[in-house]
Symmetry: C2
Subunit: 423 residues, 2 copies
């Protein structure tokens, strides 16, 4: 029986009982955090051999003979470019390797387009009349924050179970002011969905009015399976090559959630034209990223299979965490008609939907009982969820026992807020 | 006797002889590089224990208890902020620690001022009518390249032996379009001079018309003495505090030429107002720089004295290199009236001046005999040395025997070009 179908008196009694349960939670003085997609300690512990000095001291030179302790090699050591190329199914010459933050790489891309344009004859975005960006929602708050920082208008595009709504995209890209889109195509943040082949091919075939249209393809979870049978994502650069739209896509990736979240390496894969513009900027910006860390990663993981094997260890740690939350949601909320949630096969998040106008209240109640969630609205541009219904659950960081407690509280708060809303 | 005083016939004979010597050089098939300020292999070798994994595995947490392998701490681990603070004589709260490239830090500063302004009420530089920058010359080519990349007008300011010409600065900063200056205040690139106390205090007392005037104080060689008795540089932030001009200065520093040129850490020291604007940008840009590398550096060097002791080892390697070049210049060119050069007590360069219109020719002749120098003109904005007379000698990277050969060739080419010019 859903809450809606429940007799009013019964609902009233239930609400009283649940409020009692909530008071109990409050008295426990919890201090739990389910707010951010951070790896947990166990995930970091499995990579400590990456720090072995022998990985570097055995040979300080990269495969081209360049001493990686010195200045130079601004586009990344050859073996690191090759490793990311193998991982992404592209050619090494289409890859540039950066420092520890793919977010920084994406910020720099938007900043470059803003001040210098995308390359070729197009004017810098800052000199164009209007600049709009497509934002599949719910999405990643830090993408939106970059766009907001540059004053770029953000247009919500609904996410379907296959990827962003193609009909909406097709219509929107006809506006020449629409300059691009941020995507997390695999195990998307926060829905966990992977763009289907059909959806991805439709994106590769989009015909934007703006020739300086650029999709930042944030493939943050490219090898981050939670289930033995991971989902498959086509290569956007390969598909875009077929449609002649290679220049519209820049793929970004990192080892932040493979090795260390604070000390990994990142990379882009892009077309020759895009690389020319990006490399031109890099040459002004730095004499090279941290090549010792690049070497360290390649020598530790060896190849894409080495990374995939390592990711199985992550899976062993994360699958039970996701299952704990999913089972808790199922146990407490299934059939009540007050919540729905995604069941991702990879990535770092569960997207959780409550009735309209309830997300903020649920978040607030959780906080008042000591459990921090990602703020309601964060999954939408400017923090404005038009329905106030989406919450992002990040199960990776908390220890398992805390996670179950936090999930129990989330369910409880959802019930209370839903019942109050029904009155 | 100078070449000018030499009888014409004697000069002619000498030129013939020197051309013969040059032909001999050419026949040797040299392939030497004195072009960039890169540390040599010996300098990199003395720091290999920085890579010991125990530095991190003994405790993955920083002094605040934060696990440095994870996301977070965007402004640097407390002990790294404290280390740079000690080194620069400022408070740790005025320091932010970044990744491996101080050039990147400086690029990002200019980019930030361009798109978002310096903070407070001033408009972004890109929205102002004109933006000019003061460039003490000769100076560092990569500073000029950043300014050029953003289309900022560059105004040459003569360097004196005390620092940039104060009279010129005073006049120029009265123009509200003059928004700042790049400086290398200690062991300047390429002159090697250190700003005198009087000069530095005069800079701290400048009254620019533009309230969003910002000096990027690139203290790249703050501990890079070549002589036992190093030169002393006052703290610009301390002096600017006294004049109430703290906001006009942002100090930048790195360990690139202390630990590894490709894999060090960098930092800024700045006022509260400047930090507010900079930290606001960083929060959009990254979830944190490489904290493992920050920890590694602090635990290896321990404190500012640890760094200073380490720099004595660099001095032992570099002093003979500089002496080799300086002795060669002295031996070959003293008293001929055709060249002058600086005798730096620190840093990475010797500034070498030849007669007007001769620098390019000297550089070209050296190249044709297999020795690459920094291109003539590189020490001036847009690569235009109005006198075509300055060359930058970078003695650190080549092995000592190659260095002497290269210096000999440089002297020879200088003589030939000067004699040809005198005809």
């Amino acid at each position: 029986m859903t809450y809606k179908e429940m007799p009013v008196e019964e609902r009233k009694a239930l609400l009283t009982q649940l409020r009692g349960d909530y008071a109990m939670f409050q008295s426990r003085g919890l201090k739990l955090d389910m707010s951010r997609g951070k790896p947990c300690t166990e995930q970091l512990d499995i990579c400590m051999e990456l720090l072995d000095s022998e990985l570097i001291t055995e040979d300080v030179k990269d495969s081209s003979g360049f001493d990686c302790r010195n200045y130079g090699v601004p586009f990344g050591v050859p073996e690191a470019r090759a490793l990311f190329a193998e991982l992404l199914g592209v050619s090494a010459e289409n890859v540039v390797v950066f420092g520890n933050s793919s977010l920084n790489v994406m910020y720099d891309l938007i900043s470059q387009f803003w001040t210098h344009g995308t390359g070729g004859s197009a004017k810098p975005w800052s000199q164009q009349r209007a600049v709009k960006f497509l934002c599949p929602v719910p999405g990643y708050d830090r993408h939106f924050a970059i766009l907001q920082h540059f004053g770029i208008d953000m247009i919500n595009v609904p996410m379907t179970e296959e990827g962003p709504d193609i009909a909406a995209l097709t219509e929107l890209v006809a506006d020449p002011a629409v300059k691009g889109m941020f995507c997390v195509p695999k195990y998307s943040n926060p829905t966990g969905i992977t763009f289907s082949d059909e959806n991805l091919r439709a994106i590769a075939a989009l015909s934007p009015a703006a020739q300086d249209f650029r999709v930042i393809w944030d493939n943050a979870y490219c090898v981050h399976d939670l289930r033995q049978q991971g989902e498959n994502l086509l290569s956007i650069l390969e598909e875009a090559k077929k449609t002649g739209h290679e220049d519209y896509f820049i793929e970004v990736v990192s080892t932040s959630k493979i090795s260390f979240a604070g000390a990994g390496i990142s990379a882009i894969a892009a077309s020759k034209n895009n690389l020319a513009a990006i490399q031109g900027r890099i040459a002004m910006q730095t004499i090279g990223h941290d090549k010792i860390n690049q070497l360290r990663h390649v020598r530790y993981f060896k190849n894409a299979d080495g990374i995939r094997r390592h990711m199985q260890k992550h899976r062993a740690i994360l699958e039970p965490k996701f299952d704990a939350v999913l089972h808790c949601l199922e146990r407490n909320l299934a059939g009540l008609g007050i919540a729905s949630w995604t069941k991702p096969a990879g990535g770092y998040f569960i997207s959780f939907d409550v009735p309209k106008n309830c997300a903020k209240k649920v978040c607030e109640m959780c906080k008042d009982a000591g459990v921090v969630l990602t703020p309601a609205g964060a999954t939408y541009p400017k923090g404005i969820d038009p329905n106030d219904s989406n919450l992002r659950i990040a199960p990776t960081f908390p220890p398992n026992d805390e996670l179950e407690t936090a999930a129990e509280l989330l369910c409880l708060c959802t019930k209370i807020v839903a019942l109050e809303e029904l009155r």
